[in-house]
């Protein structure tokens, strides 16, 4: 069984199951919405101010929503002893990891697309800088969160308090990526400074940690 076919099969299965139940996407959406509304009570920004704080706000909302998705990444596999079956099968473990990471990436990306108009409406958001740069930041940033998040989710299911363990170990390591996402978004929205360095940093972060995740996933899968 080749890596790519395993990845594609697993990914398709996850997407199909999610499409049928829409569990993850619904809870993520609702959670994001709640975060946005609560923040609106906390700050009451003018259009100018909203551009300054939107960067942080958007990514905090997406981060929390992503954790919702990440926490259930392996739940189904765990329930049905799929992980054990996977361990003894000849299929390469990285194929499984990539499928899960890509699935999560798609879920969070869909969330971002659905939430974007909401941010525009609630905060009268209009970007001074080019929109395509926002898309690049969103893609790189989402992958940064999701690749480490999927990996750490696999680790945290082996702990006694798995739901809180995931954000606890994910957030500190994600801080440079979050800083890059937030500051570059602010830079693009306000048009006041260039996000170039941040985009490069996100790219470096993504490459390094994707490599580390692929290198070490097998150890985690077989940890017993």
């Amino acid at each position: 069984m080749s890596s790519m076919s395993v990845t594609r099969a697993t990914l398709m299965k996850d997407l199909r199951m999610e499409w049928r139940s829409k569990d993850a996407i619904n809870s993520m959406l609702f959670f994001s919405l709640l975060v946005v509304v609560i923040f609106s009570f906390a700050f009451n920004p003018t259009a100018e101010e909203s551009r300054l704080i939107a960067g942080g706000l958007i990514w905090v909302a997406f981060l929390f929503a992503a954790v919702v998705a990440l926490n259930q990444t392996w739940a189904r596999e765990l329930r049905n002893q799929v992980l054990d079956a996977y361990r003894v099968s000849p299929a390469p473990p990285n194929a499984l990891f990539l499928a899960k990471a890509l699935g999560n990436f798609l879920f969070v990306a869909v969330l971002e697309v659905l939430m974007a108009p909401l941010f525009v409406v609630f905060y009268q958001l209009r970007s001074v800088g080019p929109l395509w740069q926002l898309v690049v930041v969103a893609l790189l940033g989402t992958w940064a969160l999701v690749v480490n998040g999927t990996f750490f989710a696999a680790m945290s299911i082996r702990t006694r308090n798995r739901e809180i363990m995931l954000p606890l170990i994910l957030f500190p390591i994600s801080i440079p990526a979050l800083l890059a996402m937030v500051d570059s978004t602010t830079g693009i929205l306000t048009g006041e400074f260039s996000p170039d360095f941040w985009i490069k940093l996100l790219l470096v972060y993504d490459v390094i940690f994707t490599a580390v995740c692929l290198l070490l996933f097998e150890s985690v899968l077989n940890a017993e």
């Binding site: 480490n148 680790m155 082996r158 702990t159 006694r160 308090n161 363990m165 606890l168 170990i169 957030f171 500190p172 390591i173 801080i175 440079p176 800083l179 890059a180 500051d183 400074f193 360095f197 941040w198 940093l201 470096v204 972060y205 390094i208 940690f209 580390v212 070490l216 150890s219 985690v220 940890a223 017993e224």
Partner: protein, 229 residues
Amino acid sequence: MKSISIAFIIFTLALLSFSTYQALVVAPTEATMGEVQRIFYYHVPSAWVAGLCFFVNFLASITYLINRKPNADAMAAASAEVGVVFCTIVLITGPIWARPVWGIWWTWDARLTTTLVLWLIYVSYLVLRRFAAGSQTQVLSAVLGIFGFVDVPIVYMSIRWFRTQHPSPVMGGGESSGLAPAMLQAFLWNLLAFTCLGVAFVMARYHLQKVENQVESEHAQLALQGGTR
């Protein structure tokens, strides 16, 4: 082994007394900041020891994943814990320094913020060690130890860039402040003394971990044999 340890501890304590004397008495008073600058002789060596400990944790984690020897894991556990202790000292002495100099406790200054993030990463490592399920603790911790240390240069670069873009007061005299030779002497003595202290703590914690592992495996053996004989 035991007599060497005791000799080393006594040596370390003597060294620390001497280096503290150097810091408080011998080193000249700094022109702009005054006496409070002497915190530097404790603050910076602590940061160095913390960094050294985290590096040892990185090496021990890699070693464990390669050869799965429990001693490697014991060293990883020891170095992370001692590293967090010294990191805590950096995070407390930094604001104590800043308060009389800048009138504020914290400014998200590049070096202190990087230290804070490092502290968060390795505290999360210690939390994982505590809550991982038994036999998997070692592998999971080793993996997180590798992730954490790989992140360190990225954390450093990102925060430095952030602070370049959005400047704020710098704690501890800034990048360009040089050290007068008399100050350098006090600094180096404290660097040596704190490193020895760090080594002493790591070795003690390492030994403790090995003993605990042994006791645990004996308990497991007893359980397999069906309880107390």
